[in-house]
Symmetry: C2
Subunit: 432 residues, 2 copies
């Protein structure tokens, strides 16, 4: 048994700072859990993190700016990366693994894009790559697929994994406000960044879904495999109609697996109001997993923030440290199953919600119904919502029975060319 286990950390943003604080504050507990002390041996930092470290009272002797020296430091058993972003984080992780260091990272982008390769690299060098913090803050979402649900064939994942968009959608649903003011409020509260594109366009969620789907399906799912639509085209009226129809609107990250193919997509969906996911409000995250043995299990919690994320990072450090102490490589095994094709969106079959702005005149519905019917799309309900006498337009809301996405896209193109249709205001898929 080793006398102590050395930690090297790179990146001192909010998560990195919290990890350092927790390592120091909870040293006794962690030592008890590992079997020997965890010692922070070195920090590889650049400005302004160096100034930050000084402010925190970190011993300046522990700080280096020299990558080579840091990555070759024989006293470091575990490299913790909390820089974020693709580079230079990716290079650090590669070099750390190749140098026989166990690695803990919170970096969703690197894992989503390069995880499969990095896991192979870790295995090759007999060390572990831990990334629980890359998805869903402190909610256990990686370990379940590597350990707890290992006996299951995972059939589906339905996830609210972006707190920013869930906050915005909750505000739109509860406050009856439109997208822009809801986004402003999120920015004001620090839930959304000044440039919110990564969140609101579903890019962040697509990274996380790629990670979950890769693990769950033992496949290499890349972020670019994920079909992606953001939330900016949703309108307060969509929420009002959804509510009337018994639905909530959520940005879901969905992954499903059949015998032949997998499907991975992030887009707004209508889900039944009484579904558990519909109750997940504000910045909270929740992931529903469906397995052949376990049935449905759901994991819920804060999906971001320094404290929850540090909870996952420290758990990973403890896990890696136990392996170091026992002198073994990572216990989690990673093996790719024969690749399945990613099902194109055109093959999706689901129900749809359509909101159309039309000329307020007789026979409009007949023309719309004909186009839908010609494309084998049958209507489950139609509501004419209001007529505006000034513009002589009306709003029509249509819910369809299950139909093929390809047929729906064709129908939408044809509807666009219909003279009586002023605008296809929105269409949203339904998930039940």
């Amino acid at each position: 048994m080793k006398k102590s286990i050395g930690i090297g950390l790179t990146g001192l943003g909010v998560v990195g700072r919290q990890v350092v604080s927790t390592l120091l504050e909870k040293a006794d507990l962690l030592s008890e859990q590992v079997g020997c002390p965890l010692v922070l041996r070195q920090l590889k930092l650049i400005e302004p993190d160096i100034a930050q470290a000084r402010k925190m009272g970190i011993d300046p002797k522990l700080i280096t700016t020299d990558d080579d020296q840091f990555l070759a430091n024989p006293e470091i058993d575990i490299v913790v990366e909390t820089i974020g972003g693709e580079e230079p984080a990716l290079s650090y992780l590669e070099r750390a693994l190749a140098g026989g260091r166990h690695v803990v990272t919170a970096n969703k982008e690197v894992i989503a894009k390069h995880g499969v390769r990095l896991l192979a690299l870790a295995e090759q060098h007999g060390v572990g790559l831990h990334f629980e913090a890359s998805v869903g803050g402190g909610i256990p979402l990686i370990a379940p697929f590597q350990d707890d649900l290992i006996a299951n064939q995972i059939k589906g994942i339905y996830a609210i994994i972006n707190g920013t968009t869930n906050y915005i959608l909750t505000r739109m649903a509860k406050g009856g406000v439109d997208f822009a003011p809801a986004l402003s409020k999120a920015q004001e509260l620090g839930y959304a960044e000044a440039n919110p594109v990564n969140d609101i366009e579903g890019i962040d969620a697509s990274y996380k879904l790629a990670i979950l789907a890769s693990l769950a399906f033992r496949s290499q799912v890349q972020p670019q495999d994920v079909y992606r639509e953001g939330i900016s085209r949703l309108d307060s009226r969509d929420f009002q109609y959804a509510h009337e129809l018994g639905f909530a609107i959520k940005l879901l990250a969905i992954a499903k697996q059949s015998d032949e193919s997998i499907e991975v997509r992030v887009h707004p969906v209508f889900i039944p109001q009484d579904a558990l996911l519909a109750k997940v409000e504000g910045v909270y995250n929740a992931v529903l997993v469906e397995g052949d043995l376990v049935g449905q299990v759901l994991f819920f919690g804060e999906g971001a923030g320094a404290l929850p994320t540090s909870s996952a990072v420290i758990a990973d450090i403890v896990s890696a440290a136990r392996d170091v102490g026992l002198g073994v490589s990572s216990r989690a095994r990673w093996s790719l199953e024969p690749g399945k094709r990613v099902k194109p969106m055109s093959e999706l079959e689901t129900r749809y919600y359509l909101r159309l702005n039309v000329t307020d005149q007789a026979g409009v519905l007949a023309q719309i119904s004909k186009i839908l019917g010609d494309n084998s799309i049958s209507i489950s309900s139609v509501i004419q919502k209001w007529a505006d006498s000034a513009t002589q337009t009306a709003e029509i809301v249509i819910m369809t029975h299950p139909a093929k996405e390809a047929a729906m896209q064709k129908a939408l193109t044809q509807l666009e060319h219909l003279a009586v249709i002023k605008e296809i205001s929105n269409f949203v898929r339904v998930e039940v």
Copy 2:
């Protein structure tokens, strides 16, 4: 690395049978996850399990009735116990651990009563004791405390961990029926046993809470430490009033920890209708955990049944097998922190719901208010629900502000002696 890992199984009830089936059906997947095949080497059975094994087509050469031979079989690395109940399961587990076998068990009673001692025994003999299946079927509820949330000081656990009672309460809430017919329906559907006392009196939940609290608080919490009230005194009217007041009624298993003491109790509670736990319906289980870093996390799923439970048992077998393969003892470390006193119920402080059957005359409320006031209990709302002219009685529903349990118990005794009070129909604690 071993060429294969040997499994011995004892007990062939619904869970045992599913474990055997899954081990055989998913042999390839499991072998891939462990690094070598998992081989079912022997089953120690008694009638009628032997007949069952024959029906399943299990090779008769694998079956023994000889305890000593089974426990001494050098080909068995992992003993899986799915007998249930205290004895003879406890003796098997003790002998298996003492003989250097890793152990996987689904036995909540043995773990709740003897877990701390068995964990020490396992550590002493360099093997692992795995019991994920003892609480909450396939929902990961043990691993989070041993691994994922390890960096947290756990402040509270709020759990719906008995599916039978949650089914009954859901029926009472939705169907407006009383306890007896709801129980009958649960029995008819196989959710409740012919003798339902273990479920409806909260005994099952108290076992599970003792396990969770022991792990979460690193304490030795025994089932008899858990304050316990069942659900049989709830009436359809309690659900009606709860609904009107904005609450749901659930049987919660609650564990809290302060710096000085822990509190563990199982009883019906009023919880706000919009709380996530209020949405957990039917036989589903859900456990809300509050940690200092992670905030609130919730785990939800099917809490019983052969398939979900086998999901947890197999995950434990894989975990033990990875340890066997790596030649290490269990990675989970178990250490008791200095014992904290268990806070007596009398020190509890919470809000209360009171339903009283009173004589329908002037001045009744004044007498009731006086007794409550004399005991420093202040009323937050009073509703006189109905008057029955035939019996000249009325029903009064009172919600209090937070008050001490000791004061409330004293007040209840005094109220009982009040001539105008026909009956204290119910009182239920509120948890927010």
